[in-house]
Amino acid sequence: MNSGSNGKQPFLHIKREADLDKEFSKRIAKLAHGEKLYGCIQCGNCSATCPLSPYMDYTPRKVIAMVRAGFRDEVLSNSTVWLCASCYSCTVECPKGIKITDIMYALKREAIIKKVYPRNFAIPALSRTFYDEVRAGGRINETWLLTRFYMRTNIFKAIGFIGLALKLFGTGRLKLAEKKLKDRQQFRRMVESTSN
């Protein structure tokens, strides 16, 4: 994987100091509840306990090292952080007490703010859909959440799930209408009055 800023030279595996974002780690540490990130001893326990690490381009340990060193573009534009399922096993087992899951959240948010998250990847799309649903209605209706998610990503993929959806409707586990909040306008105002 060599998606650095020196993209003109695709075979050049080298990182120059000028291409690093030296403030990146400070920003992430601030967003992710603490400075403990700097105590990382690169033991790899996070990667080893992570059930998703086999599917990631960079292991979580490597992500921490890249954040520390300022490899901003590589980390943010990669799908790795979006594969974090928030199972928190890394956070619980980290011998240095680093809140790795919170760091992954911070990286996801940073990627969204910087608009560099992987566009064709389904997970950020689901997060966005979920976020919009809650902001609008206060509660999640899983029927509409999935419908809108598939519309956002790949409508054809949804076909594979039609059989499952019918079964869920049949057992009463999906419904078209859900009870809504009493004052959705007020809820929305509350959400929007909170800046990050």
Binding site: I41, Q42, C43, G44, N45, C46, S47, A48, T49, C50, S53, P54, Y58, T59, R61, K62, S89, E93, C94, P95, K96, G97
Partner: protein
């Protein structure tokens, strides 16, 4: 301050301590400021006050300016109070006319704001100038040092210290909690990096202890009470009943052989519970003293009273005595060396390694016993079913470098893991994997040993093992213990199936470390190991004079370092003994008889039992030799009859006044 009889002439010295103080504090400004304070005759700043020229400067000024009070504003008095008191003496002044101000630890090292730092330094110097004017002439008392020494803990450190002291002609009392001396070293088979047999080098030392005319060995015994002070400690040692008369027993095993339990039934402590022993037992064949013990918690006689006592009948020397009671020995010693050792980390505290759940997950100490010919498997490294492992994974840093358990590096685990890797490979021919975070092999011949292992076809994987599990994803993992780790050098997660897992457990303070700390009135560092007086320059001293520490009780350390430290502690104790006497600090409390109402409230409050009551005069009396100058009685006396040298009311009030009254 016209009420003083003599004219007060103060010299103030502000130390730069290189950039340590001068980097933050305006030393020249402070010196100039101090020169304008009352009674200050001269005020100077100097690069290093503790240097020879710095000390000479004080002496010259005393003579030239007829100074009679000195304020040195530098580092902590813990470091240099003695230096400057000596400088006063050289200059012809009483050493207690000195007051130190700590503008390094208390000011420059803890403040970044220069203005605040300067303000604080000025305040503190002003307070000291006000205080020192009231300080009085004091003299130190000399008391003789008892040449006998108490050593607590009979591991390799205690044994070494005892032999050194005894060879120097001092009488040594060696107290060991277990039935035998030898400590953890007695459990090992080989020692790194030379791979020499632990027993071969340890047991001769153990028998030397037993044979030495200057050593009194009390095993199965604990210190129960300590009083007194440097050079003159009074100690009570409780000898637990072993129900075998030590002087009569020759360790012939007849009692063990004839015990009504035909086979061992209770977990054998020496083999970490991997084998069974009888209620009457000897820990191991070279136990010292070689005397049997009866465990009253498992012996039928003590449990039911209905045993035929076949052990007693078997003993032709009539050494068994079921009526033995705890015996308290009272001794007097001048010095104490604490060598109480460490505790191995309990691997159950990390459930993801499966210790206690998977039978073939062992601790490193258990494997040490296994490779030992006198151990539970007679030197064979085997799985619980008796078969040889084909693959073994050794996990470093279990209970070390981990915020959830112990933050520190246990220092010995890398080396002993390499040793075990070598021994396991040698004994079984198995594939051996070492999982390490960082390989730490500083020591003579240690890196060479690592290099040897690297060439021995042992696998090294840099990564902390996250989990030992039994869930298989492929057929070759079925029935194995699967270790999941990131090979951080490759950057990929690996699943490694093995037959046996060895957890290299770290070193912790002992559970009773706090009790011992209180008994001997010393300190522990935050993690619970005994605290040395100075980490570099007084590594075996404690803050209690005459009490020294050595070995892993002070922090994780290996055999060579423990032995070296034991030698250092013995040398310190010998220096104290051979100086013949100690000088007592004069900052003791004293009672003004005419004010004492005889209410006795000070008696129980004194932590050092230094206060007695004179029934005839109906007044309290302080034993100066026992008083440590803590001031508790001074503060508690309702009639204000108790005062304290160097902490007189007028000295303290004047210091406080000086702090708050900006007099210029």
């Amino acid at each position: 301050m016209s009420h003083h009889k003599e004219e007060i002439r103060i010299g103030v010295y502000i130390c730069h301590c290189g950039h340590n103080i001068a980097g933050t504090v305006d030393v020249t400004g402070i010196a100039e400021y101090a020169s304008r304070l009352p009674n200050v005759v001269i005020s100077k700043d100097y690069k290093y006050m503790c240097s020879d020229p710095g000390q000479v400067l004080i002496g010259q000024d005393i003579a030239e300016h007829k100074l009679n009070r000195i304020v040195v504003s530098s580092c902590s008095p813990l470091l240099h109070e003695k230096t400057f008191r000596d400088a006063l003496v050289k200059g012809g002044l009483n050493p207690f006319f000195l007051q130190m101000v700590n503008i390094r630890e208390n000011v420059s090292w803890v403040h970044t704001d220069t203005d605040d730092a300067n303000l604080k330094a000025r305040d503190l110097v002003r307070a000291a100038v006000h205080r020192v004017a009231y300080q009085k002439e004091l003299t130190k008392k000399k008391v003789p040092v008892n040449p006998d020494v108490l050593i607590v803990g009979g591991g390799i450190a205690g044994i070494s210290a005892a032999l050194t002291m005894a060879d120097a002609g001092k009488k040594v009392f060696l107290v060991e909690k277990e039935p035998t001396i030898g400590g953890h070293m007695a459990l090992f088979d080989k020692t790194f990096p030379t791979l020499d047999c632990a027993a071969c080098i340890l047991t001769p030392k153990m028998s030397s202890v037993k044979k030495h005319p200057n050593i009194t060995l009390w095993s199965y015994s604990e210190v129960s009470e300590v009083s007194g002070f440097v050079g003159n400690y009074k100690v009570k040692v409780t000898r637990k009943p072993r129900y075998v008369i030590e002087e009569l027993c020759v360790g012939c095993y007849a009692c063990v052989d004839e015990c009504i339990f035909k086979e061992g039934k209770f977990p054998d402590e020496f083999n970490l519970g991997m084998s069974k022993r009888k209620p009457v037992y000897l820990p191991f064949p070279q136990a010292t003293p070689l005397v049997a013990v009866i465990d009253d918690k498992t012996c039928i006689h003590f449990k039911t009273g209905k045993c035929q006592q076949s052990c007693a009948k078997a003993c032709d020397r009539n050494a068994i005595d079921f009526n033995q009671q705890p015996e308290v020995k009272e001794i007097e010693v001048g010095t104490v060396i604490l060598t109480t050792g460490f505790k191995a980390f309990d691997a159950r505290r990390l459930p993801y390694y499966g210790y206690g759940k998977f039978p073939n997950v062992f601790t490193s100490l258990e494997v040490e016993r296994m490779v030992n010919a006198s151990g539970p498997t007679e030197g064979h490294v085997v799985l619980k079913d008796g078969s040889k492992p084909k693959s073994v994974g050794i996990v470093h840093c279990v209970g070390s470098r981990d915020e959830k358990t112990n933050k520190w590096c246990s220092r010995v685990c890398c080396m002993y893991s390499l040793k075990l890797a070598h021994l396991i490979k040698e004994h079984t021919g198995a594939e051996v994997y070492n999982f390490y975070i960082d390989m730490r092999t500083p020591g003579k011949g240690y890196e060479e040993f690592y290099d040897k292992l690297l060439r021995e076809d042992v696998h090294f994987i840099r990564g902390r093992v996250a989990e030992v599990s039994d869930w298989a994803t492929t057929s070759d993992e079925e029935g194995k213990l699967i270790m999941r780790v990131e090979d951080t050098m490759v950057g990929m997660v690996r699943r490694i199936p093995v037959d046996m897992v060895v957890l290299s457990v770290g070193l912790e303070p002992r559970d009773d470390a706090q009790d011992i700390r209180k008994l001997f009135n010393i300190s522990c560092s935050t993690e619970g190991f005994f605290l040395e007086k100075h980490p570099k320059l007084a590594p075996v001293d404690t803050f209690t004079d005459g009490v020294f520490i050595a070995g892993a009780a002070q922090g994780p350390r290996d055999i060579p370092d423990s032995v070296a430290q034991a030698g250092a502690a013995a040398a310190q104790a010998l220096a104290l003994i051979d100086s013949g006497h100690v000088e007592l600090e004069p900052n003791t409390a004293y009672i003004t008889d005419t004010l004492c109402s005889g209410c006795k409230s000070c008696l129980n409050i004194c932590p050092y039992k230094a206060i007695a009551f004179d029934d005839e005069k109906r007044k309290s009396v302080i034993n100066e030799a026992l008083c440590k100058g803590c001031g508790t009685c001074v503060a508690s006396c309702p009639s204000g009859a108790i005062r304290q040298n160097l902490f007189e009311d007028e000295e303290i009030f004047s210091e406080i006044r000086g702090l708050f009254v900006e007099s210029i």
